[in-house]
Symmetry: none
Subunit: 260 residues, 2 copies
DNA sequence: GTCACGTCTC
DNA sequence: GAGACGTGAC
């Protein structure tokens, strides 16, 4: 039997918001350590990796490892039925072909349960190597989202360039070109507002705006985002979910095109 | 001559919002007691009954009974031209074929009038018997609206089941199934937030989601809604409009289908 | 093309 | 909480 309870359903609601535009279905792997999800997006361009640790749940029980293939559209519909202050509990019997979500209002006067059929999904196990990156940039997640949204008005690609001067986000298109330069914050009064750049080697890479915009759907999960880059390897965009885990997005850089 | 004035046009605006999706036209019956409207919806499935008592108006005069056939689309367009704080006055000459709406801004600086042609509508007089019901449920209108919207994601029908344990709203469909259980509120600190269940006989009935969702367009008219049910008779969904009347929706239960 | 719904913003 | 905008369905 599997059972995982969160006092605040909003975490799970936000997680779904953060992945549903990239994935139509996905496998939730549950074991003693928690819940893990790894999947290529529908277009096999980006990779999503979610971890929710067992100790981050308010109750967690997993007698046997279970892999649950979920239709994320259906799951999103169900989670929309939870109030932000509701408690949510996911339950599945061993070897069951359904999962049940139970929502309880804070005063216990409203209890709702939703049973969803599971899917048989091919297990694609993705080995993601832990890597050292030439540059890591931490910044407020809302600021990153704003930049991606702003720049995507002008072109389909964003060039991220990290040097000792700071980090620069650039794009160009029919309208013209745009550059946003970000310097490391001098004082770290407010941790959430800090921009912190660690650079061993300067790196310049180009990415598809559309995917960065998909990634920023995770903005409400964390006040900060971390970008990790090295030449010729996928960018990692990581949102740490307080007290419970993280969601990481991987996106391969575009091969440099002509500058016509 | 007929004349009816409301200091707050918002009441009439909300009434139109609450009926315009169900009715394309309707007859307003005006007499000494006030304004009444009763009509089957466009598909002849649900019934709408509106009462605005004369004493709820800030001025009310009705020399002779008048029946005004209104195109509700046109009337809605006109009412959208009124500010929420405007005073609205409906006027009609005896035997006229038009009705006039006059809107006056609070400071009297803006006065607008809109004349609308009336329609000749067949008078369908609907005798609605006053009945005792086996169950009545009062609950916050927003909560009812939320439940109807949530459940309609999963199926076309909602089963409402009222027993001594409380009231349960259920549905099922391709995705899976859903149940929302509501218990009577223990304390009635805030009257508007109370759930109050009166049950003489347990009742379980099935209704079309779509119509319940139409009914919830009346949500902003009242903080509370009352559902009345007896076996084999139409559900009544009533919103009391403070100080002036009510709007009631009647919906026949679906005949039980096979449970395949 | 129209209508209704959901989302986002003020 | 209400109004406006954009999107999806008929």
């Amino acid at each position: 039997m599997f059972e995982a309870r969160l006092l605040k359903s909003s975490i799970l609601k936000k997680v779904l918001e953060a992945i549903k535009d990239l994935l139509t279905q996905a496998t939730f792997d549950c074991d003693d350590n928690g819940i893990q999800l790894q999947a290529m997006d529908n277009s096999h361009v980006a990779l999503v990796s979610l971890l929710l640790r067992a100790d981050g749940f308010d109750k967690y029980r997993c007698d046997r490892n279970v892999t649950m293939g979920m239709n994320l559209g259906s799951m999103t519909k169900i989670l929309k039925c939870a109030g932000d202050k509701d408690t949510v509990t996911m339950k599945a019997q061993d070897n069951a072909d359904t999962v049940t979500f139970v929502f309880e209002s804070p005063n216990q006067e409203k209890v709702s349960d939703y049973e969803m059929k599971l899917m048989n999904l091919d297990l694609e196990h993705l080995g993601i190597p832990e890597t050292e990156y030439s540059c890591t940039i931490r910044m407020p997640s809302a600021e990153f989202a704003r930049m991606c949204r702003d720049l995507s008005q002008f072109g389909e690609s964003i060039v991220i360039s990290c040097t000792k001067e700071g980090v620069k986000f650039s794009t160009s298109g029919d309208i013209g070109s745009a550059n946003i330069k970000l310097a490391q914050t001098a004082s770290i009064d407010k941790e959430d507002e800090a921009v912190i750049i660690e650079m061993d080697e300067p790196v310049t890479l180009t990415f598809a705006c559309q995917y960065l915009n998909y990634f920023t759907k995770a903005t409400s999960l964390s006040p900060q985002v971390q970008l990790s880059m090295s030449a010729d390897v996928p960018l990692v965009v990581e949102y740490r979910i307080p007290d419970i885990g993280h969601i990481r997005y991987y996106l391969a850089p575009k091969i440099e095109e002509d500058d016509n």
